[in-house]
Amino acid sequence: GPLGLGRPATPDEIAAWDTDVRPDGTGLPDGEGDVWTGEELFEANCAVCHGDFAEGVDNWPQLAGGFGTLDQDDPVKTVGSYWPYLSTTWDYIYRSMPYGNAQSLEPVDVYALVAYILYSNDLVDDDFVLSRDNFLDVEMPNAGGFRVDDRAETEYPLWRGEPCMENCKDAVTVTMRAAVLDVTPDDGAE
């Protein structure tokens, strides 16, 4: 580079850190994993937080179910109900899970765990084996559920314009009060 700073990254180094997996499967390593291997791994490493069937324990994330809730109050967003790309599940588990011992799983484990999570979501059968080859065949139910930020078109024109300064409303009434709810930590509020 112009300043000659830094040193070339070695192929091994790039391999060690460049693990991201993209929607088109770029970045997926060799290997495969089946649902039953995944179930065992999941029970051993994940279920304590995410539940035996990926249904979530207490406040820990639920990874399965929630279908049909996205337009309801309190949508349940899981890998099955919400995530548009399967690659995200692979990428995230490989880099961030299990929580407390991340970046410890082998690629084959991750294939199996992802297969199991798909199975928990009723998205594959119990004989499913996930690999790079069939990765893009898995249909993610909410794949079509996203659109790129459209605030510039749908909102900004609405809010722009000279704001009202006088007689902006006839009457004002209080419609909701936080004190009624009383969920604020005690030390923080008077």
Partner: protein
């Protein structure tokens, strides 16, 4: 609490013994200059701290706390009480152990040490960093009773660092070809490794690979020794403990940009890539944690305004829940993508007030009401709630988080 501790008592016509009698602090010694090589706030300010809300998250490791904005003034946020958001806790990473890799569509993949970074030309900028989930608990209505909790996922610091552009240029962007449609993926060295994809245009515009904040090294909890600064864009993209930058021809669509930080609308579809933090403001005092203790008469209404699009040009304040508005005084002209302090110097008649503030930025964007936002988005967006906040101030000076018609 802070309430009692700040109430003055010298209203009497007779002489005040605090003045007429010698006080020990006017006679004896205070602390010497060796007492605190690195100091902390005085004990009486012990309530001006970050607070977390236990029920929000399963544990404190992947969690959030809040800047005590109700007790601060000016615009700089001290690092010691600037909010934290971690996905796997705040890690301890020595400068010596720090490595930064640039790979992908670059001419020469490189590894930098911390020392290497200090050899590139540096810049200084003040920017706010707001979590996209700031005020996110308020979509369904007034919930948390304090500006710290409703608006405290924000801080504002003077950063020193190297433009991301400089580092990308060092690795060489020739290999990336046409830069339109190219992306820069950034990830951290912690166990969550929190990766985000940033369009090349933004990466080259003003992103900063920062190592100092407010003059000194970044704090552990803000990414020591190196974090990314993505001015005006949601805090989740400001990757801490930055370890890798990859130039790509597509976004990664990582968990933090699909499962999280996407905004679900009423019809169940969701917006993605909602990066910019729209113009927003909040009155920090009076507010539930900062009540009026002095009764009627002169009152300073103080607050913060900011916009990820640019500079704040104007802030209006309403005392009657939005029926009428007055333009507040900006303490200093708004700076691009930085917090702006506003004041309304007013005379309180001692009656109930419904206090609101409304920010306007140099793109002409006017901060909307919460109901206006709900009309477009419904109640399930979680992120990007920049609606107008209302505090109900009672005649006794206490304030409450409310919503109004």
């Amino acid at each position: 609490g802070a309430f009692a501790a700040t109430t003055g008592t010298a209203r009497a016509a007779e002489s005040d013994p605090l003045i007429t009698e010698p006080q020990f602090w006017a006679q004896g010694f205070g602390d010497g200059v060796d007492a605190t090589p690195y100091g902390l706030p005085i004990e009486f300010e012990s309530d001006v701290i970050r607070r977390n809300v236990e029920w929000l998250t399963a544990d404190t490791i992947s969690s959030i706390n809040f800047t005590p904005i109700h007790a601060l003034d000016g615009t700089i946020t001290p690092q010691g009480c600037a909010f934290e958001r971690h996905h796997s806790g705040a890690i301890e990473l020595r400068k010596d152990d720090y490595r930064l890799m640039i790979n992908g569509l670059v001419d020469k993949p490189l590894v930098f040490t911390y020392d290497d970074l200090e050899r590139f030309p540096r810049e200084n900028h003040v920017y706010f960093c707001e979590c996209a989930a700031n005020s996110g608990m308020e979509w369904a209505g007034a919930q948390l009773n304090g500006a710290q909790f409703t608006h405290g996922m924000i801080h504002n610091m003077e950063y020193t660092g190297v433009p991301l552009k400089t580092l990308l240029t060092e690795a060489g962007l020739g290999a990336a070809g046409d830069l339109a449609g190219k992306w820069v993926y950034v990830e951290g060295a912690d166990a969550s490794s929190n990766g985000r994809s940033i369009p090349m245009e933004k990466a080259l515009e003003d992103c900063l690979v920062a190592f100092k904040a407010n003059g000194e090294a970044l704090r552990k909890e803000h990414g020591y020794p190196v974090r990314l600064v993505v001015p005006g864009w949601e805090g989740n993209m400001w990757v801490k403990w930055l370890r890798r930058i990859e130039v790509m021809d597509a976004p990664v669509e990582a968990r933090e940009e699909t499962s999280k930080y996407t905004d679900t609308l009423a019809d169940g579809t969701s917006r993605k890539w909602t990066w910019v933090m729209d113009a927003k403001s909040v009155i920090t005092s009076p507010s539930p944690q900062s009540p009026i203790t002095h009764g009627g008469g002169p009152l300073v209404i103080s607050g913060l305004a900011w916009s990820g699009h640019g500079a704040i040009t104007r802030v209006d304040v309403s005392k009657d829940g939005g029926k009428t508005w007055q333009t507040a005084r900006l303490a200093r002209p708004g700076e691009k993508r930085a917090l702006t302090r506003f004041y309304l110097d007013t005379d309180w008649d001692g009656q109930e007030m419904l206090l609101q503030s409304r920010a306007i930025d140099d793109t002409g964007y006017v901060q909307p009401t919460k109901d206006q936002l709900r009309e477009v988005r419904g109640l399930n967006s979680i992120y990007h709630n920049n609606g107008i906040q209302t505090w109900l101030v009672n005649p006794d000076g206490k304030a409450e988080n409310v919503e109004v018609s």
